[in-house]
Point group: C2
Chain length 412, copies 2
DNA sequence: TTCTTTTTCTCCGAGATACAAATTAAATCT
DNA sequence: AGATTTAATTTGTATCTCGGAGAAAAAGAA
């Protein structure tokens, strides 16, 4: 455990200042002082140090003369060039790479449409390494100036260990991507559940800006769950990110894993069967099947709509359970094609409404969000930036509990 | 938000010291220094203050001469008489009251077997007030010397507000028990979900001592869920404790609320129907029905066993979902009659095993724990004591977010 | 008994921090 | 040019942790 000393104190307050500047645009020292409730003296000292480290810079736009008489405020903002980070997203059919600056602005991104379903982890690592190097080069940067890389992928990921325990896009288990990429690139690399990245992106840049509690349910080929609780990402007991796909929607008989009922992968398969059966055209890729299904449903095809509705209801069941457990003010359903279809969302909403107890009926607002590659990349960047900002949380925890640390004790 | 200043620093370190003493029995200053990684100087200063406040006292048992030559260690322990707190548990058919000292030892307890199902909140408050006054008196204490009261009850409780949003044992909703009792007794009173109390009791005194992550599933007339995450009680977004009974075990058609399938209340009703049907004896109270059901099942009655198994399986479904979400090393099933029956537990274990994905098969150990009234009271006491120890957590949180606090900002 | 050794604990000064009050800085208004 | 106003910095004080020196309290040795 970390004991409280002046250093920690400073770290905490410095983070408050950085956080305020990041969230509320350019700020003057007085404003920071009001926002953080730190004394002007302290803010002055901290900002001086930050300026010295070139993490923030004064915004010398003579522009904003704020109607005042006295000495003009010096607006401070993050220094975009203080650091650069790389975000990577692995999906079953694409690798997306992006480089952002210290503010999270995407400088350059790169999409590699490659099916990595059946590749070995080391081949994927090769692809990622190449992609990162190329993207960094295209952005006119040197890899040595990159402060960190974060890779997001679906599945169960243990961030602290840098290991992907299990993923729908990997055949192997316990893949140590973190250490591998760190070594390959010579840059600190981390991995995380892709949903956690969206969740953080929502918190930093998106609809849940400044919201301390919300859920993100990501509907893609697989299903992911991101939880922000008390302003921090919630991770399972061992730092394992929860996997929504493994939730069961029906006990024993009948249903099964949620991923087998409500993911794009499963719906695609159903769609394929349905469309191939009723139609002469028997050549359908999965992606096409989904597109066609959505189109037909929109056109009024009842059977197609029913397929989407079933998936929506199943996910609604899970969402209702989650709301019962977490009571978040917002639930964000994010995804691409299917997740944004009304034929999917409406049944989902209805299922949630039907299943939720009266006492929780109105606590959660369910909103839908379509995601682009850029959002993922920004999320991955935010994950790395958060460390650079130096958030000292988790350091001050309630309990150390290393019985091993202290000899016999208690019986002494 | 709370900014970091020397005062907070001290508060944090003082808590570390208190926590170490509480958990590892009488300790000398050197031992505290090793455990907390604070310098001997600091420990000396903090313990001096604590001694001054009479929160801890030296253990002057000349007894433990530890083989050494030098100056003997002065063992420090919590001062049992530093404070006294009262714990109350409300159940549908009983009010339990207990007084403990600063160490959590139960000095006196009192069980009032009263059905409060159909009472109004104010009648219940009357009963609680009387019970507390009597129990405190019986313990030879004055109510003015009580530092705090904590009431545990099933249902959805918002501890911070002191309000019970909804409870199976209350007809009314949004009952402000906290403020009411504070006012009646002239003593700080808080309320919390009963399961949170068991959870804390397990963490402080029970099987999960020193374990940072675990779940408690409480099976009584209603179903409760307690979550300890990162060494702290997990509360829903608004500080609402989650209610397991409201979880749905089957989507839409079929099943319904978990409480209607797997609680003692629901099983009792089934048992009553079953036993009354097959037996001449048609006069059965609920409590008797459960007892008889268990007896019959134990004697080999297949139909009775089946009723228990169905409940076990339903709860197993929920537990599997929880494990997928939280991945806790331990899940404690706590309760009384039904929860400890093998005819209930074995199906539960089997259901969990069948439903859990392979990757999570071995992460959670499910253990069963029978609870006595004393444990509840100790939990309630621990909840209050925790505040007295002055845990400063939650004060240092990542995000303030009071947009209202700062005027236009961001656009300035 | 008296002195040495050993271990525990406390006092002292250094270093770092936050904060309040006073001071300086940089504009506008008269 | 001087007064006024607001922003930011400097100065001084109090608190905290920590390392090292010193005092305390026992056991062992002479």
């Amino acid at each position: 455990m970390k004991t409280a000393d002046p250093e920690l104190m400073r770290a905490i307050n410095r983070f408050y200042v950085m956080d305020a500047i990041r969230r509320f645009g350019p700020l003057s020292r007085v404003e920071i002082s009001q926002l953080t409730e730190l004394s002007p003296t302290t803010v002055s000292a901290i900002t001086a140090a930050l300026l010295d480290d070139r993490l923030i810079i004064p915004l010398q736009l003579g522009a904003v003369r704020d109607a005042g008489r006295g000495r003009p405020r010096v607006m401070l903002k993050l220094n975009p060039d203080a650091a650069h980070v790389v975000g990577v997203k692995l999906a079953h059919d694409q690798i997306t790479v992006g480089v952002t600056n210290f503010c999270g602005d995407i400088l350059r991104s790169l999409a590699l449409p490659i099916r990595i379903d059946r590749q070995t982890a080391s081949v994927i690592a090769d692809l990622v390494e190449d992609g990162v190097r190329r993207c960094v080069g295209d952005a006119g940067l040197d890899i040595a100036h990159i402060s960190g890389v974060c890779v997001g992928l679906p599945g169960v990921v243990e961030r602290a260990a840098g290991v992907c325990r299990q993923s729908p896009i990997l055949q192997e288990r316990d893949v140590p991507f973190g250490a591998d990429l760190s070594h390959r690139l010579g840059v600190p690399a981390s991995i995380d559940s892709d949903v956690n990245l969206v969740t953080l992106a929502e918190h930093w840049f998106g609809q849940a800006r400044g919201l301390n509690d919300f859920l993100v349910v990501n509907v893609e080929r697989s299903l992911g769950l991101g939880i922000l609780h008390n302003g921090d990402l919630f991770r399972g007991a061992n730092g394992l990110s929860p996997d929504l796909g493994d939730l069961m929607v029906r006990p024993l008989n009948g249903g099964g894993r949620l991923a087998d009922v409500a993911s794009e992968a499963s719906v695609s398969i159903e769609a394929e069967a349905l469309l191939r059966g009723g139609d002469a055209d028997s050549r359908l890729h999965q992606g096409r099947a989904m597109a066609l299904l959505l189109k037909r449903a929109a056109a009024g095809d009842k059977r197609c709509a029913r397929v989407l509705a079933a998936a929506g209801e199943a996910l609604g069941f899970a969402v209702a359970s989650l709301i019962t457990l977490f009571a978040p003010p917002k639930v964000i359903i994010s995804g691409r094609a299917m997740a944004t279809s009304d034929h999917f969302i409406e049944p989902l909403r209805n299922a949630v409404a039907a299943l939720l107890p009266a006492s929780l009926a109105d606590v959660s607002e369910i909103i839908v969000r379509e995601w682009s590659d850029g959002n993922w990349v920004q999320g991955a960047a935010a994950m790395t930036l958060r460390d650079l900002y130096g958030a000292p949380w988790g350091t001050t925890g309630p309990a150390p509990i290393r019985e091993a640390l202290s000899p016999p004790l208690g019986e002494s």
